[in-house]
Symmetry: C2
Subunit: 250 residues, 2 copies
């Protein structure tokens, strides 16, 4: 029987700048009564990664630009938070009806450049996305390997909206130890016909699966995925970002 | 320990028009060595639903319109398949670089109106989306309840692309027995702050999770999800379709 088990990693304490996230996750896994196995996938939400990496910004230190003030006034937002969004922004994709969808410097297209104003340390702070989530994932993976001696894969995820469909889903921002896509092109289907268009974003499917256990108030910043057979691979989650020339929704 | 188990339902035979899908799925669950429990979620891929419902079209019976011929010539496609796409189409959202993204009559925004040319019975046929996937899910749910006496939830899913991110993911087209969204608005986060923007598309996350076990060549048209605590609800997957007035990417 092919099956996959998703387990909420409980007992991870509040994370602060400089914390060793691999150690906190390993501790949580132990507290949950789990034992890591080779081939496991550890999915970690961006928020604790950003906190450990010191990506929390005190909004009192942010002086809004004129443009940030204009946008904030128009949409009834905190001008300092808007300024922070603009500083992470490469290109504004859409700005209407109170929504600012941007392409960040790292290439993600998302609302508010992924700047998070909830679950922060004080009411006056915001959390930025990790600077290089692939590197974050690789660091956590190396730390876990150091602690347990096992080859694992690690995903760093965030909760994004998407066009056309309501509701947020968890997606993959950074990856280490596995390929984020499953490329079925060139293989044949059950009828023996070649599959031409089938590249599956398995990293996003894994993120979404983990998202089921990562409800915001439930204090579950990490999920253990067991039983998904992946090929070890030195991949980057950047391949999930559609290149500009293939993007019909710029 | 909070955990969710995804199990591939094996041994479902090729599906034909008129087949009792609930019975075939129940048989597959038994062959796989599983036993249904109250609260389980059964995720079924659209293709077998459409086959059972007779949504397979013989392309030899389709006379392409002039517009279908023009599009097909320009993008080197089968004009009969393009004609079939146009007949399911309410509005063309984008048509460029060989891609036709449309809003279907039922409201989904997707490539080729969800018309599927692979895994069909012969080389000259195509499979349409179910006419009413909520009703399909409800029928399967009622059939399973009839067979096993249990309250379950059922999802009907398909593999869709999305803007900005490469790769396909499994999404929810139809649902019965549970709410497709988890609305956290009004609840508070760990810091006691009210969550304003957090509506989670749990049906799409469940679909994506199941998608990990639904690889095309692996003949797994259904997946059993156990351990996800949902509230029984008479929901519709249509709430996952963003209303036109909130859609910035028309």
């Amino acid at each position: 029987m092919r099956s996959i088990t998703l387990s909420a990693i409980e007992g991870i304490p509040p994370v602060n700048q400089g914390d060793d996230l691999a150690r906190l996750i390993a501790g949580g896994i132990e507290k949950t009564g789990l034992r890591l196995q080779a081939g496991d996938i550890v999915v970690v939400c961006q928020k604790v990664v950003s906190k450990a990496e010191g990506r929390v910004v005190d909004l009192k230190t942010i002086a809004p630009s004129e443009f940030a003030n204009i946008l904030a006034k128009r949409w009834e937002k905190d001008p300092r938070a808007v300024e922070l969004v603009l500083r992470q922004t490469n290109r504004i994709v859409r700005n209407d009806r109170g929504v600012i969808i941007v392409e960040t410097g790292q290439g993600w297209v998302c609302a508010n450049a992924g700047v998070d104003e909830s679950n922060t340390l004080t009411d006056d702070s915001a959390i930025l996305l990790p600077e290089d989530p692939d590197a974050s994932a690789a660091r956590i993976r190396a730390g876990l390997k150091n602690l347990c001696g096992l080859e694992l894969a690690v995903l760093v995820t965030d909760t994004f909206g998407r066009p056309w469909r309501d509701g947020l889903t968890e997606i993959c921002l950074g990856i280490a130890g596995m390929n984020p896509i499953l490329d079925l092109r060139g293989t044949t289907d059950l009828g023996g016909r070649e599959l031409h268009h089938t590249v599956v974003a398995i990293a996003d499917e894994l993120a979404a699966a983990a998202g089921l256990l990562m409800e915001k108030a439930a204090a579950v910043p990490a999920v253990l995925v067991r039983g998904y057979g992946y090929q070890p691979f030195d991949g980057s989650a950047k391949v999930l970002i559609r290149p500009a020339e293939a993007d019909l929704f710029r």
